[in-house]
Symmetry: C3
Subunit: 478 residues, 3 copies
């Protein structure tokens, strides 16, 4: 069996772990030379991270990380899903739990190391290699044989001041970091961070209203009360959302983030919206009505963005919590959200007909359906001043799909319609590795254009600097 | 901001503009050597352009082009859409207008030059580089700083005899050029061109009946009267279309071109067709009936092609005029047609069941949904003798998508089922650059097959010559 | 005309035919060196073929192959479809017939050779080159001029003992070979082969129940009687299917194979299932009911797989027998099955919610819609322990699509979620060429990861050996 043999091999060979300075750059020596020059110029630029899932309390409290497992495995569904597919129960990995007792944490770490071969060829492996070497000074490829030694090595470092959250934040060179937040959040953690002279990174909240817009979901009538305001009727609900957005803007937010199954944006008449809202409060709303209402509210969110200036990010097309038994036991974001085919051209037309040329409105479109980037997003971003093509994201955040995105989207929309890289991660330590991967791949892609004599090298250099630094600042209005 | 910095850079550096002899060829030196040999053999072969949008009156009247802007910007929605996305109002570019007064034309040209960086990485930039160097002898990369000088340089040349339309037509080496024409057109311009001994290029009309088949569109009842014949009833309408097709054939047409939202071809019974036709004349047709009628007429068009020999070209899957405000102000073809997911396997079955093996019937299929080429068109072209895979077209006419097309389609259908390159342009000066790009990319792709030892070099050479010269002549029956 | 010129060229030049030792390996010399080392290590490993269409009687009877045409052309719709698209009538190729008289067989062979250029750039050409050189010692590229000589050369060898089916089976080094069988088959041929000491290859049947599950198809009420058992009511029908599966397991089957238009798996209540089953027996079932019943039975098949251990393979999304006239004259599997867009995420949810983590259940998913591998199959295989991504199959079994699959699927799911290569062929002599192609492409892909410093070479070596040998054995429980 592959697994057995691979395990045996891993156990036998104590292979070294290194990260090569030219990793991910193109293989052809001439192109690689160009890419190396381009990459070197942006390698050390500060990180701008306009969308992600780091908890602001992590940075506020600056508590040392508990152990390697709670830092590198438990919160990262990119990792746990692959181990689960390979036969490891999520419970053995502490999914859905906080830090575990040391024996369980160590056992989970051993499972990662003994299944290291499952990660081959994935970006998870790539990020891990970078993190282990660059942050923790690991020099051996993880395996069953050295799992405990690596655990001890990393745990020892986590206890040191240099590996506490704020120290790492500084070391990572993160200029701007957006979190993702519930509209009812008081944003006290963000306020405290902003007030703290020890933290030079701007840590901004992001308005994420999905659960308040899906009026047919169980628990919605209770949830909506958390918004404050007079949510007993539709007009009050809209006013409450507007008020919460203003609150977020006042506390540093730059964007509002939306993820639903489809990208529909057909507005309802006021009377229909009121009627459906009442049914939702009564618990008598039909699934069709709930969807129509949410599509209407997506249109409304764009209208509010035109008013309050929050950048709108939209990432439709994911079937959330595909496996009911896993959802019931471990909760959401546990690795079984699965992409769906999605349609944007017709769906976004109501929104774009109304707001697509509205001055200052920014709509960043993401998808996990690779074809949609080339077929629909690039053409939309190549005409509408409001539309930007988001980075290849989630399932597409890997060298292969990034390459496909680069080729397909820039040919149609150019570089100026790209959002720049988005890490979208809840794995704090992977942030620098993810941005570095993106810089390497962008350098390689631009080097290819230079080698094909489609771009002069000074233009490639300028474009790369733009993608890393200027473009995310412009698109997210930083 | 990216834009500011890029503008500054462009303004500072007076960079040279050159076109490298090896541009677009593969980077690996061994493969590049093969590609160079292949490309050199076809570089100077005459151009065959079986589908495009050049106005025959341009060549008939041979009036000097008015200025750089009306030649290179205003009619080309590939250019204006990218500038519009970058924040330039279409009105400043003269979209939807004829030649402008010199101050406005010059201002539009300055906008192009100062936004030159928006074109990076797109084929528009590539075509422009070739045109500026090869046709106008430009030696500096356009920028805000040299915009006026370039304008003067080009304007000066346009006033010379060597840059009048017929002189360029000769210089471009175009053997065959198809235009796109309304079925009601009297084709007098084509007749005059054919009679003119000064024009050696064959300039052929193309029958494009879309607006006569979409019976639910506003204005259809008036439009159909232009067809002549007795269009007061269905039978007369069909006869009128047949008569206009015969007229086109008699005046040199080789193909009929069809572009609708979907690819449906389900025929109606005669009684249903008559009934819907009557409703359309009365203005009481429903959208469903109008679509069913148009799908029926697409089937009928194939039947007529079997009779009169016109090659049928079909390119479904575009949402026309996506942005209503732009359409109302500037008209159609102004850069906001957006691709739609499209289905061919079921949709074309009625047509292909009936005519897919009809001797001499040629159906060339195009799509702007890249996946459809590999998933559906290549398999259809790999079985039905009537079906040819059209070139990667419109949004797909760029090195990245051409590469994807080459790889995916030829593996399933071989080279003999390809239409050869189609430029489909209304930008007259871009024709040689577009064909040259295609020849370079085909040479590179074939060189890759030779380097992988899948094809001998003599076969690659024969295949490339076929794609450039023989295949479009065979497919379009020239 | 291309065809004429190509024919002329083929006829003139008596080009040599060779297969290069580095064919299909990456062009860049550094990467090629790594790929060559990797490939060399697996080149001669035994072939494991867990899904295909070789007739077991071929091996049981060991009758010499009749002639080159009945061996290499007639049964292979990959070949005949391309010739048909190029204008050759299927009747001239003996499609749907057994061995032909020598004059017709020779004429068909001449058609293949004189149309050899139609195969350029396709995997069919690649497989043919390998077969002709490696199995028959051909040294000249086929053409009209040498067609008869090649026919005689191959025919002469087919008459020798060394080219009889069992001799080739040994020479090909096939360890395991699955056939595809009707559930009503008595599997006597398999029993006899297993009992024969002269055959060391394991030849296993595969349970393929499609036609018994499509209850709305003409002839179903008669067909179902062949299953045995009490199929007069639903419970008996289910029991009969279970019994036939047990029979297959007892006779060596390892998998059950399912190919329907969609991937729906919604179960019905027992009462609905009974009611629809009765309607089907009466011939009054509606198309909607028949589809719902088949989707229910797909769910049931997964349940049975959990019980009896048969690996479930699923390959939805093909429009069978697209051209009615060809189907009526030549029957099924004659080259006009055409891919359809297909959806898995929602469709498979009922099945995976219930059985996706069932211990030992294996579900191998195939598609001919390339995007579905990256968008849906890789994410499913990257979470569910039961799900494996099948090899790029049928229309996707070529270097271009294999490359796309490798890149897209492994990034999301890693190598351990792949089925290993599946040849799926009814062209016996193409089996080694197909597996060799896969090994070369896997070696090249892994070499690219090594060159990009994403994987160490020892890991690439281990992964490649796994893909060739261990992984199919694990996935198919050999």
């Amino acid at each position: 069996m592959l697994v057995d043999r691979a395990e045996r091999r891993e156990a036998q060979a104590m292979a070294t772990l290194t990260v090569h300075p030219d990793r991910l750059l193109p293989a052809e020596p001439g192109v690689r030379d160009i890419a190396r020059r381009l990459y070197t110029a942006v390698r050390d630029l500060p990180i701008v991270s306009p969308h992600g899932h780091v908890d602001p309390r992590l940075l506020l409290e600056d508590t040392p990380f508990a152990d390697p497992t709670s830092l590198l495995i438990q919160p990262d569904h990119y990792v746990t899903r692959l181990l689960h597919a390979g036969g490891v129960p999520l419970s053995d990995l502490g999914v859905g739990e906080g830090p575990m007792a040391e024996d369980r944490a160590r056992a989970a770490w051993r499972l990662l190391c003994s299944h290291w071969h499952l990660l081959r060829g994935t970006p998870v492996r790539y990020w891990f290699d970078s993190e282990l070497v660059d942050i923790f000074g690991v020099t051996e490829r993880p395996s069953a044989a050295n799992a405990d030694a690596l655990y001890d090595l990393i745990a020892g470092q986590l206890a040191q001041p240099g590996h506490r959250p704020r120290a790492l934040l500084r070391r990572f060179g993160i200029d701007f970091l957006a979190t993702t937040d519930d509209p009812a959040d008081d944003l006290a953690a963000h306020d405290a961070l902003r007030a703290d002279p020890d933290v030079s990174t701007t840590v901004a909240p992001t308005f994420r209203p999905d659960r308040y817009l899906e009026v047919g979901r169980p628990g919605w009538p209770e949830a909506v009360k958390e918004l404050g305001g007079d949510c007993g009727h539709y007009t009050g609900y809209v006013a409450a959302l507007e008020e919460r957005r203003r609150y977020f803007v006042a506390h540093g937010a730059v964007s509002a983030d939306h993820g639903h199954a489809d990208a529909g944006t057909e507005p309802l008449g006021h009377r229909d919206a009121e009627r459906i809202y009442r049914s939702a409060l009564d618990g008598t709303v039909t699934p069709q009505e709930a969807t129509a209402f949410r599509q209407h509210m997506t249109f409304e969110m764009a209208r509010m963005s035109c008013d309050d200036g929050l950048v709108m990010t939209l990432h439709p097309g994911v079937y959330r919590n595909h496996h009911p038994a896993t959802f019931e036991r471990y909760g959401p974001d546990t690795g079984h959200d699965i992409p769906l085919a999605v349609e944007l051209t017709r769906s976004l037309r109501p929104l774009l007909s109304r707001f697509g040329t509205y001055p200052g409105f920014h709509l960043v479109l993401f998808t996990v359906d690779p074809d949609v980037y080339s077929r629909e997003i690039a053409p939309l971003a190549g005409f509408y001043p409001a539309v930007y093509a988001g980075a290849p994201w989630w399932f597409l955040d890997n060298p292969a799909e990034i390459g496909r995105f680069q080729a397909a989207v820039t040919e149609t929309a150019g570089f100026s319609r790209l959002s720049g890289f988005i890490d979208d991660t809840r794995a704090f330590c992977s942030i620098p590795a993810r941005h570095d991967m993106s810089r390497r791949l962008d350098a390689g892609f631009l080097a290819g254009l230079v080698a094909a004599h489609r771009l002069d090298e000074d233009e490639a250099h300028d474009t790369l600097t733009g993608l890393v630094s200027d473009q995310p600042r412009k698109v997210f209005k930083l």
